[in-house]
């Protein structure tokens, strides 16, 4: 499969199979397939954050090593493969470029707290959610998507974005809120579709 092919439902399903195979039996073919699909995108992400090219490649190798070592912990019910990979790459980037940690709530804690919000009880197919989010992202107005791009790709906080783009802080915050609203609407619409069946 070409790394340059777009990632759609079929590729997401394959990525789940590959991750599960690495987790279950340390399958090197599956791992190689994951590498060919995601390493070029991870490289783009790591270099985009201002990492000098050879440092970015070192971080990439560390990210894929973590993938190998943690594949047995991947749970397809909790997140899509790209989301799981993103969190590993993000944490590795914080560690590699800033020597800081990314504090996270442990899964055990999250599982124990019942959610008051009924949407948490809907069973959402994570990879279908990923497809809907991807579409919603494509539909955001440029003034919102550029903020997301700066946040994820340029390591900029919302206050830094406000300064760099010379946009009032309140405007930045409300555009981010609007983008979130569009994305959560996507989740609601998808879940409604699920319920009607």
């Amino acid at each position: 499969m070409q790394a340059t092919a777009e990632i759609g439902d079929r590729e997401r399903a394959q990525a789940i199979d590959w991750l599960m195979a690495v987790g279950a039996s340390r399958d090197r073919n599956a791992f190689s397939n994951l590498y060919r699909t995601f390493a070029p995108r991870l490289r783009s992400y790591l270099r985009g954050l201002g990492a000098e090219a050879s440092l970015a490649d070192d971080l990439l190798q560390e990210v894929m090593t973590v993938v190998w070592r943690r594949a047995h912990l991947f749970d397809p019910a909790k997140s899509a493969p790209a989301t799981w990979l993103f969190t590993i790459a993000r944490n590795k980037r914080i560690d590699g470029l800033r020597r800081e940690r990314h504090p996270e709530v442990s899964d055990e804690v999250l599982a124990q707290v019942p959610s008051e919000d009924p949407s948490a009880e809907r069973r959402v197919q994570q990879s279908q959610l990923a497809a809907r989010i991807s579409e919603a992202l494509a539909g955001l107005p440029a003034e919102q998507s550029e903020l997301l791009s700066l946040a994820y790709y340029r390591d900029m906080t919302h206050t830094e974005i406000s300064m760099a783009l010379d946009i009032p802080l309140g405007t930045v915050k409300s555009r981010i809120r609007l983008a979130m609203k569009k994305l959560t609407q996507t989740l609601d619409e998808f879940a409604d579709f699920d319920v009607k069946e």
């Binding site: 590498y35 047995h72 990314h102 989010i133 900029m156």
Partner: protein, 224 residues
Amino acid sequence: MAVSKTPDHHPSDALLLDYVSGAASEPMALLVAAHLDLCPKCAERVDMLQALGGAMLERSKPNELETSGDGETGLAALLQSLDDAQDEIPTPEPAPVLEGITLPGVLAGYVAVERQPFWSGSGAIQEAPVASLGEAKARLLKIRAGKGVPRHTHQGLECTLVLSGAFTDESGRFGPGDVAELDAEDTHRPVADPGEDCICLVVSDAPLKFTGPVGLLLNSLVKF
């Protein structure tokens, strides 16, 4: 730490985005994570933002250019190195307990509860350091029952997460799990509820630095 209800005051979506993107300083990320420990609603929003990170990764323009060798050199070298790689087994640390209060688990490793004396200062306000990285600082604050925090200025963002007790300020009442988020131009004068000391995690972020022009790179990496 048990909360009897979902918090009323939450971090803004912009602050949650700072956390998920990784741009937030470690002290500020710690405060957000501690709130998530107590707030299922925000934990869901964070899941959404992480799924957004995944979508952005999927939509990134693939960069095949390794710094050395052809496309498969990195993979071959990696496969060789994996022979020695061990499975990772997570070992979460127990949640710290301070004066009988179980703190959010993410604070393990950051709050030295065994330190004697734990609090500095005396009187209405006491402090204990938690983490500082560069100019971003996290500290615990204890506001004695019925007492107020004097008005103060800060640069950048200042956030307060209530861990026990409650305070009231111009925006309302903040109890366990609630977050007060103040931008550089905001000030507040929190007053602790009478009858109970209020313990908070307070994070002051670094002053803003000029980041320079970014216009050219906006759409060069991700397809929208």
